[in-house]
């Protein structure tokens, strides 16, 4: 099998990994806190996509058993069910992170990480 064939056969997984790395880059390199939250969301979408792609098969049917098809014809429903949980977790993370970002913006007046670090090192008072 040539490299191209392997690439085409695993396009979902390779794509998910690429999106994962893009998200990671956003989280690490961007100074804006809001964009970092978006970066985490991009990463989690990549992981969810990867998970769901494991269960998918070409021309697969929705797994509602009607007696005429063999198990091999259905897609695997377990990953999709797991990812529902994953999405709920991701939403609750986002809500909490955004509420923190609002509080940070209220107390520092900016969402730029570099400026915030500069400000917080300047008032080096211990309580």
């Amino acid at each position: 099998m040539s490299i191209l064939d392997i690439f085409v056969a695993n396009i979902h997984f390779i794509g998910a990994m690429i999106i994962f790395v893009i998200g990671l880059y956003m989280v690490i390199a961007h100074p804006n806190l809001f964009k970092r939250i978006i970066g985490i969301n991009v990463m989690s979408s990549a992981v969810f996509y990867f998970f769901v792609a494991i269960g998918a098969i070409a021309d697969g049917r929705v797994p509602i058993v009607d007696g005429t098809l063999t198990p091999a014809d259905y897609i695997n429903p377990v990953p999709s069910a797991l990812i529902l949980t994953g999405i709920v977790i991701s939403v609750s993370f986002t809500v909490y992170a955004l509420s923190l970002a609002i509080k940070i913006h209220q107390s520092y007046g900016t969402l730029d990480q570099e400026k915030i670090v500069e400000m917080s090192t300047r008032d080096d008072s211990y309580d």
Binding site: F20, F50, L82, F93, Y96, A97, K103, I116, S120, Y126
Partner: protein, 492 residues
Amino acid sequence: MISWLPIVQMMLILTIALMSPLSKKARLMTHLLAYGLIANTIIGVVLLTHVHAVGPIVLSLGGHASFLGIEFIIDSFSALFTLFVSGIGLLIHMYSLGYLPHALKESQIASYYGLLALLYFAVFGLLYTNDLFNTYVFIEILSITTCAIISIARKKRNYMAAFRYLMLNELGSLSFLMGVALLYMITGSLNMTMIMNQLSTQFAAYPINVTLALGFIGVGLAMKSAIFPFHEWLPDAHSSAPAPSSALLSGVVVKLYLLVIVKILFRVFGTGIAETLNAPLVMMIFAVVAMVFGSLFALGQKDIKRMLAYSTVSQVGYILLALSLLSTAGLEVMFFYIFSHALIKGTLFLVTGATISHQKKRSLESYKGLGYLMPLSMTAFALAGFGMVGIPGTSGFVAKFQIATAFLDVDQALFVWVLIVSSILNALYYFPIIINGFVTDNEGIDVHLEKVPWPMLVTLSVFVLGIFLLGVMPGVIMPYIQAAAEVMGGVS
């Protein structure tokens, strides 16, 4: 009947957590959580003795077969550590009775206890579960609640610390989930036991998947347990949380992720695959770097709580070093170290809480002469500091001695030198505080016993007694630790 006790344990604590949005009364939540923790400790003792006498309990939730449903395994390992968490939690709760009313507002205290209950729920689940996706869910609950606890005191500094911690935590969780997906891809299962059975044959067919999975899961958990290059969040996070929760985060939560690493290595991948993939070597390198550099960074701190936090970074290195032996003997040492460090670092953070609320200062300079102003607390600090450095008679000495002998048994004397160097560094930052605290002229200082609330003093003395009890008679808990290590790593 007894096999459903773990569910009772978790539902009890979850119900308490769900009471907190309903009630803003600090008194009610304080009492509820206290009773909840007492009940959990009793159940923990019952479960541990039962498991010791009869053998592990396997619970299939919802009655599904293990390839479909979620399994809980209650064995010597999980029973021991749930008892440990509820015991330490109970002691810290007693301290909070005296501490929190001065530190937080009434409504904040109620929600603080609610979050804490949720944290215990996640901890129990994480220890009991035998399912990888379930582990992920509990990890997420744990990380979001810890971040919320850090941001509960409404200060500028805390928001930023919580935000950083949250980001790195989420990176870790996602990395962990990616690893789980890679394992699910080749084994078609999320149950740890079934994955391990499958992997013994699938490893040869899909080495890349397994390697990547171990990498992703390892990095994810390393971020959460603050293993050296990923420790960036820890000093901010642990130094800005309220003192009782700093003690809990540093003493228990960080260790918990290390215990998850143990579960992953021994129950999912198996030591064979981990050794083929050079996991022990990688862990050793990270551990040595953490031990030395954590201490070096701690030397440069001016704030007492940040110094203690960096000390935790170096202690995580010790624990990881013990784990890197990947043997039953290594696990025994590691578990003992976890107990010892929870007691010592708990004491140190709790004393810091007392001094901060009493003196309103947290720079290291303000500890000069503090032994005259707060003799009892500073004595506790000094004794715990001796434990951290490893003075004979304390649990810290036994723990370090055990690591040294474990490495001498496998002929790796190099690590004993690292241990000694790191202990000397420990001494370099703990002893000056103790010496400055007691040995300074007391002119103009009014010498008296401090007026710290009695629950705080009682907790501190129990912790200090624990340090010396484990130091003089480690045999008290050794049989349980051995059983826990054997159930994980096999009989040596």
